[in-house]
């Protein structure tokens, strides 16, 4: 029978500041973990000594202490002998003292991963009633085992996930969201800068003589290029990934300021382009952009003879 005990191993700590030493220690740690994983029933001090004869004992002690601290190792005593057992750090068990309901709810939330789970779904899965569930969730929350995260897709919807998990992008919305609010100004600025970069590249390419084909090929930019440009510009406080830039560039394409083609290696290439037509006659007058054009007629209150939009435009 195994009994879990919390023992502080009293061993002298070696505090080496050398970089080569830390490297050694990483190596030792990896080997130790490997060893522990291959023995699911646990490893004793003797096992360790046997497998790593060349490593000095103080070194091993430091590593074991570290692993015990961050919860990768569990310490057991069986038959007056100490055993270390490997424990997956991502899987935490509920603290002792939790009742059955808490365990069930914990398991459901754990399964949901970093996407989180909605309270209604927990209720359906656990078959607990609302008041009971609320109580359980509250207790888990105060114990800092789970946390509630507000989802961006619906501002009032809260999802629960394990305390130490980083919420998924679908929940937080990624780089574009700050406290559930979409930062449209930030996106606009980025989109403008991306367009400026592509335009600059296009103009530079056109300046160099060498034929239209060369100019066209030079004016293509990858998302990586743009990403580098934006990072160097330093307009963004949060660090943006290349995928983020990719989606920004897509808005530039949607604004008809750039075109996107598929390169041979499967990534996209972007290039600033011109439109076919200059702005046409209809949008130069007021009627083309008039908000009450539908209600305008040759008689009635809204008519061209007294139209203030037209008058303003004519007096301009």
């Amino acid at each position: 029978m195994e009994k879990k005990v919390q023992i502080k191993t009293e061993m002298s700590e070696d505090r080496g500041g050398d970089s080569s030493q830390t490297e050694d220690r990483d190596n030792v740690e990896a080997r130790l973990l490997e060893l522990a994983k291959s023995h699911p029933e646990g490893i004793s001090n003797d096992d360790i000594k046997q497998h790593m004869k060349e490593v000095p004992l103080p070194e091993i002690t430091t590593v074991i202490n570290k692993c015990l601290k961050n919860g990768t190792f569990d310490l057991f005593r069986t038959k007056d002998k100490l055993f270390y057992k490997y424990k997956d750090p991502s899987k935490k068990t509920v603290n002792k003292g939790a009742d059955n309901e808490e365990k069930v709810v914990y398991k459901i939330i754990e399964e949901a991963g970093n996407k989180g789970i909605w309270i209604r779904d927990i209720r359906f899965k656990s078959n607990l009633n609302m008041t009971q569930l609320n109580k359980v969730l509250k207790s888990l929350e105060t114990k800092k085992i789970i946390k509630a995260v507000k989802s961006v897709s619906a501002s009032k919807k809260k999802v629960y996930m394990l305390y130490d998990l980083e919420p998924d992008n679908t929940v937080t919305g990624g780089a574009w969201y700050q406290d559930q609010d979409f930062e449209s100004e930030f996106v606009d600025v980025l989109s403008q800068q991306c367009h400026r970069y592509l335009l600059q590249k296009w103009e530079d390419a056109n300046k160099i003589s060498g034929g239209p084909l060369l100019a066209r090929n030079r004016s293509y930019a990858t998302a990586g290029d743009v990403h580098k440009f934006i990072s160097e510009l330093g307009i963004s406080k949060v660090s943006l990934s290349v995928e983020d830039i990719e989606s920004i560039l897509y808005t530039v394409v949607l604004d008809n300021n750039a075109e996107r083609i598929l390169a041979t290696n499967g990534s996209y290439l972007y290039r600033a382009v011109n439109r076919f037509l200059p702005s046409h006659g209809l949008v130069k007058t007021t009627c083309g952009v008039c908000p009450v054009a539908n209600r305008c007629a040759d008689m009635g209150l809204i008519n061209p003879k007294v139209c203030t939009y037209l008058s303003d435009w004519l007096n301009n």
Binding site: L213, L254, L277, D298
Partner: protein, 506 residues
Amino acid sequence: MSAQLGKVLALIISDRFGPVVEKVGMYLFQYGTSPLLYIVKNTGLPLGKVKESLCVLIKYRLVFFVPNKNENIANYTFIADNVLLMLRYPKYIHLIKRKFGDESEMIVEEILQKGYWTASDVIQKVFQRLSKNVDNAVSFGQLKDKFVSLVTAKYLVRIPYSEEDRPVPNLILQEGELHSISEIDIQQLVISAKTGQPFCFPDQGVYWAVNFDRFHQDMRDKIIVAAFTRKFDENAGELVRLLLQQMYIRTQPWADVSNPVPIIEIKDIIKKQTGFPQLNVFFDQYVNVIEQDSCNLIRKSGEASGGSFQIFLKEAFTQFAWEVIEQCVLEKLDSKAARIFRLVKLKQYIEPDQIQQLAMIPAKEAKRLSYQLFEENFLQIQELRKAPVGNGPSKSFMLFHINLPQVAQMILELCYKTLFNIMTRRSHEKVMNKRIIDKKQRVDTISMGMRAQGASEDQLADIEEMITPPEREILEKIDRTMKKLTLVELEIDDTIFLLQMYLIYE
């Protein structure tokens, strides 16, 4: 054929021919093909007036007639499209002036003013006009050559005539007569010009009119070339121009897609030209760039004789129509709305959730803009309902999509409305300032008369001073307003032309 179009047509006709003709024309527009007595009865105009109006309308090819079942009665039909073309006359004249010079311009101008005319009469008239200008003397022979070249280039066509004598003539035209020039006797023209006697010319009864289709062809090509010039550069524009020029040798002018044109032909032409050195050097590259562009309007169709290319005219105008509409959305709503519009265009069918994700617009705003676009009829909603399974919640998907022909039609209607508004406003401004305009005209006539009589500068200045400085200011303002309105009217007509081209191809 909308009410809005009817209003514009009414304005155009009453502007040019007066209220009586307008009434007859509008009756025919509203009620469709009708015989004479119906028009008389329903308009309440005297028979003589109606007949006169119909004559005017037929003369300008705004109405045509066909015999009824009872062959003594004619049915009259209104041609609405031709009325709108009257706004385009300045453009036709300008086009001819650029392509063929001043004399040809005058020939076309005279024919447009008359509706249709015989060759000899036109030449005589133009000669008279030109002879007033002493230092620019032109002989009849030159004018005849100009006329013939206009006919061979198909800018002028012969109009159908009747051979038999019947109450309602059946107008026909033999094959080949459309563009074949008849005899023009220069000798007689010279004699008649000298003596001033009206003369019976040999080509009497052979009438010529302007072929609008040919002009539209030129305007269409101009739009395409300008678009390519704007998107790429002048060299690419020139390349497309030559491609279009070579296209006519093999293809019907209004075909959706041109037949393949060997690129080597164009290369040869460019080699002989000197205007575009860049194009000559990088010819193959330009061809490559245009062909590989994402617009896909010019495609390679075969490798024969160094590669042959097709130009997709229908698709070109579809893309132009898209751009026109996108600009309308952009100006009317917002750049974000335009982004959503383009996104829907790219995805064809799209869910509202996807819109906010891909367009990077906050959820609330994306929703507001897409429903605003829906309200303004730019977007359509397609609802997909799943058949309800048991008693579970019934699911339905909402998909946004765009019906381009319908949106184009809507924008076209808006163009008509704008045209109507601008014309109404212009006549309103004229009425409001009638007194001051009349005064200006009076002063002008007086001062002109006095100048002819040889009045001194002081006297002339006195007359000029009859218009006070504030009045002068108002006159200037009216002048500016009128210019602005006229300019916009022409520009709107460009948009109408573009959209009509799209709808015709569609």
